[in-house]
């Protein structure tokens, strides 16, 4: 079966994710919300859900549907389930947004959309977990990336469970008075989601993709296992002890929470060191643009780690938390996502458009579907915007924050256009006349102008 390695609906996940990301950026650009804004305001809730569910969740699920089969060499449980997941999550998100707007706008008849939308998102996540969980559980031997994704999924379950508890307590606080204090656990909810789920999963997927595209050794050894174990333990301790401290803020619980925080910091530091090792051990001397741009995302993760450590030492972690969350969502997770899409989208486009033509006629390379000189400025603008907006959030300066968000939004749209061009193969022209290359001539350099001539490497290309 020729399509069992291609996740049919992944491009739709990516397209939906980008639309939601741009939507959230527009809301911030319009001044609807910013990181220091009241968490319970409707505009803030809509923006957060657009970012976390609409952008990051759909992006990661779309990527997992494509790359879990790569990590496990086993197919997904179902291709149709991926579509059901997309419809449930995106539909549920729209329902939640309508519910937030209804509640804020004094239209209580729309309030039912809030739990209904949340329920639909939960169903979509459950479908996704089954779909990727089957190959992950069956894979023998399990790989480090696979185990890290499994750990991430466990944190996703914890995050969703906490979210459902929040919703239940908020909807009927009188019915559950002993559970009401859990509403103070928003920080642990965010840590479980952004850290345990998104970060551990992104680390696991990057452990597969970075070596694969740079031809570096995939075996990560003790360092990779250390990142996984220390990271998983750190996030688990920090979340559980953080929640326990709401009810029993005794010394031992606080100490366990601190051990968890230190373990998280250690795991992130080990990971960044290991990523540096992957780059240094790569066999391809020229780093492709998506992995060059990803260095910015790793740098943002390093800055987030250093800032958190300094702030924690100064007992000021709470004060920088909004800016830190922004840096992690836009700089680390968003940065890694938007740079890897620059490789994944043309790769999927190639499989769909040219995979069936392989061996039957000339085909372009994956690299021929993108144009680096068109995309590079957008990555630079995106990184500059994240830097400006993070500093502005740190300084509690909303106007400067919007000035920083503007280039982020422009760059995201610019990159979305480049992904669209890659998907529609507008840069590739496999049908143009082929100039013969004498057999004795060395292979031409890998440039746009000559790339379509080199698939044979040492002699003229086959013309059917």
């Amino acid at each position: 079966m020729i399509t069992n390695r291609l996740s049919r609906w992944t491009p739709h996940f990516f397209a939906s994710a980008l639309v939601n990301f741009i939507g959230a950026e527009m809301l911030m650009l319009a001044g609807v919300t910013w990181p220091a804004h009241a968490l319970g305001a409707a505009g803030t809730l809509i923006t957060i859900h657009l970012l976390v569910i609409g952008w990051l969740l759909l992006l990661v699920l779309g990527a997992l549907f494509q790359f879990v089969p790569v990590m496990t060499t086993l197919p997904l449980a179902s291709q149709t389930a991926a579509l059901a997941c997309l419809v449930a999550v995106e539909g549920g998100l729209l329902g939640m947004i309508a519910g937030f707007l209804g509640v804020a706008g004094g239209t209580p008849r729309l309030a039912w959309l809030l739990p209904a939308g949340g329920g639909a998102v939960t169903i979509g996540i459950a479908i996704a977990l089954w779909n990727v969980g089957v190959p992950l559980a069956r894979a023998r031997p399990s790989s480090l990336p696979g185990r890290m994704v499994m750990t991430g999924i466990a944190f996703l379950v914890a995050t969703v469970t906490l979210g459902l508890l929040f919703a239940a307590v908020l909807s009927a606080p009188a019915a559950m008075p002993r559970l009401t204090p859990i509403l103070a656990g928003v920080g642990e909810h965010a840590l479980s989601g952004l850290g345990g789920w998104f970060t551990l999963t992104a680390m696991g997927v990057s452990y597969k993709l970075l070596p694969m595209f740079m031809l570096a050794p995939e075996e990560r050894g003790a360092l990779g296992r250390g990142v996984h174990l220390v990271g998983a333990m750190g996030f688990a301790l920090a979340v559980v002890a953080g929640l326990a401290a709401i009810w029993r803020p005794i010394a031992i619980v606080i100490d366990i929470q601190r051990i968890g925080d230190v373990a998280i910091g250690l795991a992130v530091a080990l990971y960044l060191w290991d990523v540096r090792r992957i780059y240094r051990e790569r066999r391809r001397t020229a780093i492709e643009l998506h992995n060059r741009a990803a260095i910015g995302a790793f740098a943002f993760l390093g800055v987030a780690l250093a800032s958190a450590a300094i702030a924690a030492a100064a007992h000021r972690l709470g004060a920088i938390a909004p800016a830190l969350a922004f840096l992690i969502v836009f700089g680390w997770l968003g940065g890694l996502g938007i740079t890897q899409l620059y490789k994944i989208v043309p790769f999927l486009a190639w499989l769909v458009r040219y995979g069936g033509r392989l061996g039957r006629g000339p085909v372009p390379r994956v690299q021929d579907l993108v144009r680096d000189r068109a995309a590079l400025p957008w990555f630079i603008v995106y990184g500059a915007g994240v830097s400006i907006a993070t500093v502005a959030a740190l300084m509690r300066w909303p106007t400067a924050f919007r000035i920083g968000v503007a280039p982020i939004a422009v760059a995201t749209i610019g990159l979305a256009v480049e992904y669209w061009r890659a998907w529609h193969a507008t840069y590739a022209d496999a049908s143009r006349p082929v100039k013969p290359v004498p057999p004795a001539m060395p292979a031409p350099p890998a440039s746009r102008e000559t790339s379509l001539l080199i698939n044979r490497g040492d002699r003229p290309r086959w013309n059917p």
Binding site: G355, G359, V363
Partner: protein
Amino acid sequence: MNGPLALDADAVTDALRDVIDPELGYNIVDLGLIYALAVEAGVVTLTMTMTTPGCPAQDYLVAGVEDRVRQLPGVADLKLDVVWEPPWTPQRMSSLAKAQLGIPD
């Protein structure tokens, strides 16, 4: 006037240079993905690998190899195996492929 070329391993190898690994952008022969090739009485027996297990392009590469080989005159049958041992490494590339991809020889 020359008659049709006899089917031999060289002819099959030459034809397989028309099949590229889309990500590396180079033909699968010079990338070292063909581990063994034999031709006997029109039957082509071929053992190949991928750059990484679970490669999303695997099915297309296999189909591309099958299509290209079966188009050769004189091919009666093709027996194709995809193997993972020994694992592929960049050192299996030809010098030309290494030079193209910037990999030290």
